[in-house]
């Protein structure tokens, strides 16, 4: 019950800020909530809108798959070899710090316009946090757990499955959650520059032709999707962390 009230309060607060901004900046910068909802309903009835949604989802799914699988694999490999991990971690951290948008000319020159550039953009944004979280999770496994495994004379496979995996799973899930969000951001940015389709394209096109209503509405849809998906993963994340603490 309190949760419901919390949620309603937050939504009310956001609407209030939105209305305040609208009152201050006016139609040149943002549309009012009600007009945005109405236009969203209108968009949902358009075939072409769903084509764009499909394009984004296809690129996002592919990028997420690559980020998750390759990220966890790299993270595990680097985490288990301490030396390699320590060599790689600051390099990865530095890569994470680079404003990747500036690399977009290079990405375009390598991948050309279209799906592969979008996916590549999503992957370069999403993969590094997944690697870093996995690496940190493996590195920070309490030594006592591994010592216990040794005392119990568990083999490497048994250790990995019954000690290591449960110990690192919660952090990896957190990493995947962060990776999810950043991959989505990367794909959207990719679409803004390197594509003629997708939600990111609708946003940037809205900015360019000054279709404020389109920009605001699509932004809202993206945010609602991201927050909803993330809420789901957060619940999963919490559960994993809770069970691991028992």
């Amino acid at each position: 019950m309190t949760r419901l009230i919390d949620t309603i309060a937050i939504i009310a607060a956001i609407l209030a800020i939105w209305l305040g901004l609208y009152a201050y900046a006016g139609d040149v910068a943002i549309t009012s909530p009600w007009r945005t909802f109405a236009f969203a309903a209108e968009l949902f009835c358009r075939r072409s809108f769903w084509d764009n949604v499909g394009a984004t989802i296809a690129a996002f799914a592919m990028a997420l798959l690559i980020s998750a699988v390759a990220g966890v694999a790299f993270g595990l490999a680097l985490g288990m070899r301490r030396f390699a991990g320590e060599v790689a971690e600051p390099v990865l951290g530095a890569l994470y710090t680079i404003p990747k948008v500036t690399l977009y000319p290079v990405m375009l020159l390598i991948f050309g316009l279209g799906l592969s550039a979008k996916v590549a953009f999503g992957v370069i944004h999403g993969i590094i946090p997944v690697i870093l979280f996995t690496l940190a999770a493996v590195k920070n496994v309490q030594p006592v757990l591994l010592r216990t495994a040794r005392v119990l004379r568990l083999g490497p496979t048994e250790t990995a499955l019954s000690v290591l995996a449960p110990a690192v799973a919660p952090e990896i899930i957190t990493g995947l959650r962060v990776g999810f969000a950043l991959t989505l951001l990367g794909v959207l940015i990719g679409e803004m520059f390197a594509s003629q389709r997708g939600l990111g394209y609708l946003i940037i096109n809205g900015i360019e032709v000054h279709d404020v209503r389109m920009t605001t509405t699509v932004t809202l849809i993206v945010i609602v999707f991201a927050v909803a998906a993330n809420g789901l993963m957060l619940a999963l994340d919490r559960r994993a962390h809770r069970t691991s603490q028992m």
């Binding site: 600051p90 710090t97 404003p99 948008v101 900015i207 993330n230």
Partner: protein
């Protein structure tokens, strides 16, 4: 050679090898000069731009923005983190929002921010803060969450006042996480501001790159990219070293 030396040298060798590989591929024209110029040429061009001073104005502009956004993010993010930590009810409500923060492409709000702040550096600083403050906030929350319960009990056993507890127990215990927040806040301010400049600005390094790209000045573009890369890596490396030193002093290497 000690272990840490070996790690550093391996790292240097790795990076040098990667740069050397790119250099070779560019020189052999496996990578066409239209796609990418050789790293040595980038460095030469960057050196020329520094010598003539043409890089100073955009760099100073960007640094000013990043510095302002960084400071605001640290203060606001840390304070908000502590506040939200103290109010579990508020926290439950804002958590999903905070956690999906980075999925939102904030620079679409740039036209709105210009309408709010005017056409100057403020909208970009605002974007930097929007990017960086939540990272600091999340790190603060993580640090406060992970203060071991036994330390809290020690504080209670010694009848410390709330202020004493915060100064003597909570802050030192959370410090490594706060430092991570600092690192992230720098990274995110830089990312947010350069991205903002790149897309929708009229000054700074990001704008320089985008302008050079659009006018096919590959040399300028890559020199500026190299500069941003060096700054990001340099500051990050500095913070990383400092971080390691802090961790060693606390005996958690």
């Amino acid at each position: 050679m000690t272990r840490s030396r070996r790690i550093v040298w391996t790292r240097i060798a790795l990076v040098a090898g990667a740069v050397g590989g790119i250099e070779l591929m560019c020189r052999l024209e496996v990578i066409k000069p239209l796609t990418m110029i050789a790293p040595s040429q980038m460095a030469l061009e960057l050196g020329r731009m520094i010598a003539t001073g043409e890089i100073i104005a955009p760099a100073a502009y960007t640094f000013m923005e990043v510095g302002a956004a960084f400071v605001v993010s640290i203060v606001a993010g840390g304070a908000l983190g502590a506040l939200v930590h103290a109010l579990p009810r508020l926290r439950r409500a804002v958590d999903p929002l905070l956690a999906s923060w980075y999925a939102v492409p904030f620079f679409v709000f740039y036209p709105l921010l210009i309408a709010l702040f005017g056409l100057n550096a403020l909208p970009l600083i605002a974007i930097g803060v929007i990017f960086a403050a939540p990272a600091m906030m999340l790190s603060t929350l993580a640090g406060l969450d992970l203060v071991p319960r036994v330390l809290r009990k020690v504080a209670r056993a010694h009848r410390l006042s709330r202020l004493q507890e915060a100064r003597l127990i909570t802050f030192p215990s959370a410090a490594p996480y706060l430092f991570t927040g600092l690192k992230l806040a720098f990274a995110y301010s830089l990312i947010g501001i350069i991205a903002g400049e790149f897309i929708l600005s009229s000054g700074g390094l990001g704008y320089g790159i985008s302008y050079a790209y659009e006018s096919f000045e590959n040399r300028t573009m890559y020199a500026l990219m190299l500069f941003v890369l060096l700054i990001a890596t340099g500051v990050n490396g500095l913070l990383h070293t400092w971080d390691g030193r802090l961790a060693r002093r606390r005996g958690i290497t």
